[in-house]
Structures are given as C-alpha cells and as structure tokens.
Amino acid sequence: MGNTITEKILMAHTDLKGIAPGQLINAHVDIALGNDITAPIAISEFRAAGGKKVFDKDKVALVLDHFTPNKDINSAQQCKTVREFAMEHGITHFFEGGQVGVEHALLPEKGIVLPGDLVIGADSHTCTYGALGAFATGVGSTDLAAAMLTGELWFKVPSSIKFVVYGKLAKWVSGKDLILNVIGRIGVDGALYQAMEFTGETISNLPMADRLSMANMAIEAGAKNGIFAPDAITEEYVKPRAKRPYKFYASDANAVYADIIEIDASKLEPQVAFPHLPSNVKGVSQAGNVKIDQSLIGSCTNGRIEDLRIAAQILKNRKAAPGVRLIVVPATPLIYKQAMQEGLLEIFMEAEAVISPPSCGACLGGHLGILAEGEKSVATTNRNFVGRMGHPKSEVYLASPAVAAASAVLGRIASPEDL
C-alpha cells in the first residue's frame, strides 16, 4: 500500500519505516513559528519548563505582525517579551519594524519554509506552506514551547482527502474562489483532523500565489494541513529563495484516501462567503444588494503582489464609492516596495484607498480598520466569524481581491463584470 505526500513527509521526519493514518508519532520540526500574540505564552512556558536554549536558533521564526506597529501598551509589552527572547537566543529569523510582514506571506517569500519541510506554527494559518509541498500545521503556544525546546512534537497522522480539480478558470476566478467553493461544499468541519490534497489539471496550472491562498484556508475546513505536490511552478518560486536544500515529495499512485472529490472549476464564478462562517458561500451573482462600509484587500490569504496587481487593474481610474473605506495592506515590505515600483500604490491612492503598513491589522479585528456596530466589510481575508473584524454586530464577507476591488467602487458586493 502506498503513502500520500503528507504521510511521506511526516515519516521522513521520524525514524519509522512505515506510517499510517491515526498513528501517533513524534517528529522532528524544521521550522517553529510564533507571533506577537502566541509567542509570549510559549516563552513563559519555555521558561517555566527550565528552558535555557532553543533547540536550533536557525529553526525558530518569530514574527511581530499582529498588533504592530504596537497598537497599545499591552501589545508593546508582548512585543518586548518576544524581542528580548529573540535577542537572548540569537534567533536568526526574527522580524519586526520595517522588516516585518504578515508571517505566512513573509516566510515563503524569504525562503525560510521549503518543500518537504515539517513546519509548525503557533498560528492556525501555518497551513499556508502546504502550497510549497511542505507539511505545515497550526498548533498552540504550548506546542510551540515544546518544539522550541526539543525540536520535536507529537502528531497524529491524518488521513487525506484528495481534491481533483479540472477545467479552465473563468476570468476573475482565482485560487481564493476555488477554496471558498471547496469549503462551501464540505463545510467548516468537512476535513476535520484530515489533510486536504489538491491535484488535477487546474491545480497544475495554478500560479504559486493562488496555491498559497488555497492552502491558507485549509484550516477553515477544519483540516490539519493543505498540500500541493511540488512541480515546476514550485521550483521556479523556491529556487531563487532557498538557502538550504529542499526535497520534493509526491503521493504514491496507490496511496489510500479517505475520500476523493472531483470539482469542475470551469463553471465557477467568483465566490463570496457570507457571515458568519467561511462555508456560507454563494456565487457573486447570487449576492443580492449588500451595501458595504469597508473593503479590505490584504492579509496572509490575499496580500501578495499578484493580488495587488489584480486590485489595481480594477481600481485604475476609478474611486472607492462615497462612504466606503478602502484599505489596502501589502503583506510584506518587499510587496510594498514592488507595489510602489510598479505604480500600484499611486493607483490605490488615486482610488482614495488607505495604504496600511504590512500588518495583520484589521484582519483579526486588531487595529487599522475596525468595524462599528452594524457595519459590513468585504475582505480578502479568511475568517468571517462573529466579531472577527470589530463589533459583534458587524459583518464580514470573504472574497477575492477582484471582488473586493469591484465592491469598493460600486459600494456593494459586486463582480468586476458589473463595472
């Protein structure tokens, strides 16, 4: 019996000769990630356990991206805790200030996470790196503390669901729409404890930015990880960034899946997830007349340069509708710089957008774009839970950058086709 790519990567990080879903294993970790919200708890756990040294200073990444630039005194204290720890241990991949970007955009961009890696992060969207053909999963702060101390962590080997996606995507339809559609089909617990493996002709042609958006939202279906078999597109993305060796894994032809789901993507239109679950998905043509107060383009899901290019293409020579606050968040400093060099920032400013520094900011209702009672925001982010971006009676509609940009112009949830 063969193994899936997820099983193979997990097995390669143990001394085991065989592996099967359901098995509890202890595995080596290539990168352990924490941020300004989750690392402080991990650091105090690390210290409480008598931790003196991290297992490997090159394999820990600490990114101060959530409440930064520090939004208040408490956030500043949390960042200080992490900064001091990073200095004390000489952490190689420590990012703050003008170097910081949203962690899940930053780590792939910098070549810190690579194909074949086993990555854990005290952040649920750590699953993003599955786009590169890595096993990457979100854990809690105590798990991060354990990994920083020992370089190992316990895992239950997940069974896998294979998604076979075929058909050419229509104009304006992106990886974001594909993953929203998948979550709409299987529900927010449709892949609970499982791996989501994306394959098929549509996936083979899908650019890396779209794969990253898709893997990012695997957790929104309850999955442990999302994964794409690495290929030429992966190689092209990874090669100029990697500073250490990496390895491509692929599922065996006779690998066993818990389920196989086929999706004809050619019929898909841009998708929108209505409040308050990422699975509450409709085609944009079915959205009706939803007036919006804010449009947020950014986050670890859709704050990459490709996303900003699409938004700029739509916003060029147009303005945000009166009463709509348009917020654009380049996810990393490099993306910010590219957007500047390509003239995208000027287009956004002409469209009367606010351009935020790279930060999680409004995505989690932290700062830089909070909603008041009764307000509605379309957002290119990944969660639309109650209170996610502000007041418990505010609403978040998840969509692609194309839909968010078109909606900003029209003042209601809209497709670029409506312009």
């Binding site: 509890l24 750590t126 798990d143 354990a146 617990d189 309850g222 932290g366 969660r383 109650v386 418990p392």
Partner: protein
C-alpha cells in the same frame, strides 16, 4: 475524575473569536482573559456562570485560530470541563497540552437542556443527568492524552522524559 456542575449550552462551530475575541489578545493574563470568556457568543456569560459549571458545545467546538487564550479563558473563568460533539483540531491539542479537561459525546448533546445539572465521571466514561438515572457514554480518551493529563500537560510530560 468527577465533574459536577450546571450546563451552559452552545451550538455548532463555536469559534475561538467567540470564546475570546481578538481585541483582548493584547494580554495573556488568565484573569484578564477570563473576564471576556464566551463574550461574543453570550455577552453576559461570565456574570451568569459559577465556578465548576460545564460548557456544552455541538460540532467543531473551538474552530478558528490557534490561540491558546481560548482554553485559558475558559479554564481561568472557572469552567470545570467542556463536553462537545466534536472539537476543532488545534483546540483539542491545546486543551490537553495545557490541562483543560474536554470530552466528546454525541448523544448527550441533544438530550441536555441549558441549566441542567450533570455529573461526568471521566474514569467510567459516563455522564449522568442530574436528578435522573439517564446516562450517556463519553468517547474514551486516547492513552497518550491520558498520559499528558496525568503528567500535568505537555511541558511537564517533556520534563519528565
């Protein structure tokens, strides 16, 4: 262990933003977090509940973010344990790693009404509805998890090794 308390019942997909909204995550002080436990699911929750009470959830309890602040807020508020039809993966891990007792039971959810007293016997794997002899099974805890609890959480388990 025996847990005895009043039930607070919630639905499916209670997410970590409902358990502890991100606006309060600029601290990890358990007492501060406890003040806002379940706030966006039931705004008055912490003023109504009493230490020892039990939270009951439907499917996928604790979905969403990896924030350990969620089980911390529940534990620090004085909730003795959480029973749900199913738990989201990271919440499940976190709860065991930091020592918040959680149990899965499917049939129990439909039978229980908010405000009822229950007794949960984790050794025998049985929930009894207060004032009746109605009993429901809880899913057995995997042996490794039992070991984690017995050792007092993941970090103590590692220290022991």
């Amino acid at each position: 262990m025996i847990f005895k308390g009043k039930v607070w019942k919630f639905g499916d997909n209670i997410d970590t933003d409902a358990i502890i909204p991100a606006r309060y995550l600029n601290t990890s002080d358990p007492r501060e977090l406890a003040k806002h436990c379940m706030e966006d699911a039931d705004p008055g929750f912490v003023t109504k509940m009493k230490p020892g009470d039990i939270i009951v959830g439907g499917e996928n309890f604790g979905c969403g973010s990896s924030r350990e602040h969620a089980p911390i807020a529940i534990k620090a508020a004085g909730i003795s344990c959480v029973v749900a039809k199913s738990f989201a993966r990271i919440f499940y891990r976190n709860a065991f790693n930091m020592g918040l007792p959680i149990f899965e039971s499917r049939e129990f959810f439909d039978a229980i009404a908010e405000g009822r007293e229950i007794t949960l016997d984790s050794i025998r794997g049985i929930i009894t509805l207060g004032g009746t002899d109605q009993k429901f099974p809880i899913n057995p805890i995997p042996p490794f998890m039992e070991q984690l609890i017995a050792d007092g959480g993941l970090m103590k388990h590692i220290a022991k090794k």
